[in-house]
């Protein structure tokens, strides 16, 4: 009996020590996380205050240099604030509204600096400045609890599990939403986002489920007579489409086809690929071109091919013009995935191609003297015309240049330059 009591006491003591150790560890972890959150919160509050001051100060100046300095500050601070907000455990709703509103201010500042739209900036920001002040005050109230002398991790933990309406951020979220709608009805970037949903503007005749399957089997004969499960997109989807899931032998996949017009949006098929066998790059290219011809995508050409372990990913772009005026319209692209072992089409993505861009034929193409444009030691190896979007998401005709440093490493860059005003739109380092 004595031994049993002795053993039990030892066990209780060991358990107690273990629990104490676990609790200590948890406390340490909580303090670390709390310190991280408090730091992010301090950063966010400070950036918000700086942003409000910068916006306010920008309303002081007419002088271009002085104003541009403030605009640059605003753009930078808005990005920093977005980053701080992104690391706080506030609800997705609050984080999204902040990111959008402050991101819009930053984008406006950049746009004003780039295009010299100073009057428009001043007009718009007079109201935004007042609202930022209000938001800044509300933010200070909402976050005051997190700065008390003996803050508890439970405060942070509590807001992570609650709806926005039940947290101190309720007023901030409501105001942000309302201010976004009035101050930035539809920004350029949101307009681009909408563009993806523009398939809702399709006016083609509606097709049935069976017709959708027929359309799919014409494009991808390899899955003919598969077992299909067809559902329609949810009521809220911006454009109605059939979601076709199929199984045939070892192939499992899906295809989305628009209800209006039966346009293939995307298709993917998964099956085991024999890694030992592989077709040549030339055969893969031919196979991909044949697939697209069969799908009636006749105005596209291959712009890039990438081989990986099991398949090739091939990018096509729509081609407009002929001869020297030939240009690739990158936003109207199609992507194909072709298996290395047999050249079977494993995927096709034509979402962007369905809604074709409108080409502005009035834009001028002014030749560039590349020797003056680039520093000595840079060799321009390739040049072609392309259409792509600039920072304000306008479709522009551009020169796309492959340039390299004439050195041992042959560092290579893809440079996209507006064909009319010669603004640099994109620079990418190529492997």
């Amino acid at each position: 009996m004595k031994s049993a009591i002795y053993l039990l006491s030892i066990a209780v003591l060991a358990l107690g020590l273990y629990s104490y150790e676990v609790k200590q560890n948890n406390n340490r972890l909580e303090r670390t996380v709390q310190a991280h959150y408090s730091n992010s919160l301090s950063n966010a509050s400070e950036k918000l205050s700086n942003l409000q001051h910068s916006v306010s100060q920008s309303l002081l100046f007419q002088d271009e240099k002085a104003l541009e300095k403030e605009l640059d500050n605003i753009w930078r601070t808005s990005n920093e604030f977005r980053s701080s907000i992104g690391s706080l455990p506030v609800s997705q709703e609050v984080a999204n509204e902040w990111m959008r509103y402050v991101g819009n201010i930053g984008e406006e500042a950049k746009y004003a600096a780039d295009f010299g739209n100073y009057d428009s900036w001043h007009n718009r920001m007079t109201k935004v400045n007042q609202k930022l002040q209000t938001l800044s005050d509300e933010w200070a109230v909402a976050t005051s609890n997190f700065y008390q002398n003996d803050p508890s991790f439970a405060d942070w933990a509590a807001i992570t599990g609650k709806e926005t309406n039940e947290t101190p951020f309720r007023n901030v979220a409501t105001n942000l939403k309302s201010y976004s709608e009035t101050d930035f009805p539809l920004t350029a970037s949101e307009s681009d986002w909408q563009k993806k949903k523009e398939l809702q503007n399709l006016n083609d005749k509606e097709i049935t489920k069976d017709q959708a399957i027929q359309r799919l089997e014409v494009l991808i004969p390899g899955i003919k007579d598969a077992t299909y499960t067809v559902t329609q997109s949810r009521r809220d989807a911006a454009y109605p489409f059939y979601h076709i899931q199929f199984v045939k032998g070892s192939r499992i996949g899906y295809a989305d086809i628009t209800v209006k017009g039966g346009h293939l949006l995307s298709f993917l098929s998964e099956r085991p690929v024999q890694e030992g066998n592989r077709l040549s790059q030339q055969d893969i290219r031919k196979a991909a071109e044949q697939f697209l011809a069969r799908g009636n995508y006749k105005d596209v050409e291959i712009v890039e091919m990438r081989e990986n372990h099991e398949a090739w990913h091939i990018s096509f772009a729509r081609v407009v013009g002929k001869g020297k005026e030939k240009a690739y319209v990158y936003p109207d692209g199609i992507q194909a995935k072709v298996s290395k072992d047999s050249g079977e089409l494993l995927g096709l993505n034509a979402m962007e191609y369905v809604q074709k861009e409108t080409i502005n034929k009035d834009q001028k193409v002014v030749p560039v003297n590349w020797e003056n444009f680039f520093r000595p030691g840079t060799v321009v190896e390739e040049e072609r015309l392309v259409y792509t979007e600039n920072e304000t998401l306008q479709l522009r005709e551009c020169y796309e240049v492959i340039a390299r440093f004439d050195s041992e490493m042959n560092e290579t860059f893809r440079v996209v330059v507006d064909a009319e005003n010669h603004d640099v739109i994109k620079v990418e380092s190529m492997h």
Partner: protein, 262 residues
């Protein structure tokens, strides 16, 4: 009689080895050009480096670095300058270079940093990977993404959707990329994935599970443009979701256990 047979055998093998000295252990029969990936490209890069034409990493990816090196080689050896490794170019390369296939593949498998220049002992051209270093699987990605991006996203996809159909895994990866384009979310893949409360796998630690090849393939397809979510910014499991707000989002489609929404 035995001596005659022995001499004949030696003569036959001798003649073969004199007439076809380089045909074994050199390239496959494929024509290799920009965009290619794999053992042929590893051999091409190693042989070009042997002569000093190629100074980049031997990784089996036929990018621009390999392309310019090959053109320079073709130029110097009087071949057609097309940047394509066809039969003529490959024969010439094999004639003037050596390629230690086993050694090169061993270095790649071990994740070592190495070069393959001629005239320098190979042992002096390798640095062993540090302890704890894990060599990443090399893949060819669109220029705007890095191997770090695919690794991080594969972790997220595996942690969030490993039990889902392949389509569902691509869709989860596409949601992360859609957030990257949206003004409502942070500006980098890392910030999006680690945004507090954004992904369950981050909260419960499942993001640190080792992703499988399927998850990596799913991310690769999403990076190449596929979006089975049809432009979704959110998804949730209707059985386990506790947020009321997520139910207010406009819904697009359901894949497996996840509903995707704007």
């Amino acid at each position: 009689m035995v001596r005659t047979i022995l001499i004949s055998v030696i003569l036959i093998f001798g003649t073969i080895s004199i007439l076809k000295p380089n045909e074994t252990f050199a390239f496959s029969g494929q024509i290799v050009e920009r965009g290619a990936f794999g053992d042929d490209v590893i051999e091409l890069q190693a042989r070009l480096q042997y002569l000093g034409f190629y100074n980049g990493k031997i990784d089996g990816i036929f990018g621009y670095g390999t392309y310019w090196a090959l053109r320079n080689f073709q130029d110097q050896y009087g071949l057609d300058i097309d940047g394509i490794a066809g039969p003529g170019t490959k024969d010439q390369l094999v004639r003037v270079t050596e390629f230690n296939e086993d050694w090169v593949h061993q270095q790649i498998a071990q994740g070592n940093r190495f070069t393959h220049y001629g005239g320098i002992p190979l042992a002096q051209q390798t640095t062993a990977a540090g302890e704890g270093y894990s060599s990443t699987t090399t893949v060819q990605l669109p220029a705007k993404y890095s191997e770090r991006d695919i690794q991080l996203m594969a972790n997220a996809v595996y942690g969030e959707a490993r039990g889902e159909p392949y389509e569902g895994q691509v869709a989860v990866a596409a949601v992360i990329l859609n957030r990257l384009e949206s003004p409502d979310f942070p500006n980098s893949i890392s910030e999006i994935i680690f945004q507090p409360r954004a992904f369950t796998a981050v909260a419960d630690g499942q993001i640190w599970l080792e992703p499988n090849e399927r998850a990596k393939q799913a991310v690769l397809d999403a990076m190449n443009g596929w979006d089975p979510s049809e432009n979704a910014l959110y998804y949730f499991n209707p059985v386990t979701a506790t947020s009321e707000w997520i139910w207010t989002r406009p819904q697009i489609k359901q894949i497996g256990e996840h509903i995707f929404c704007y």
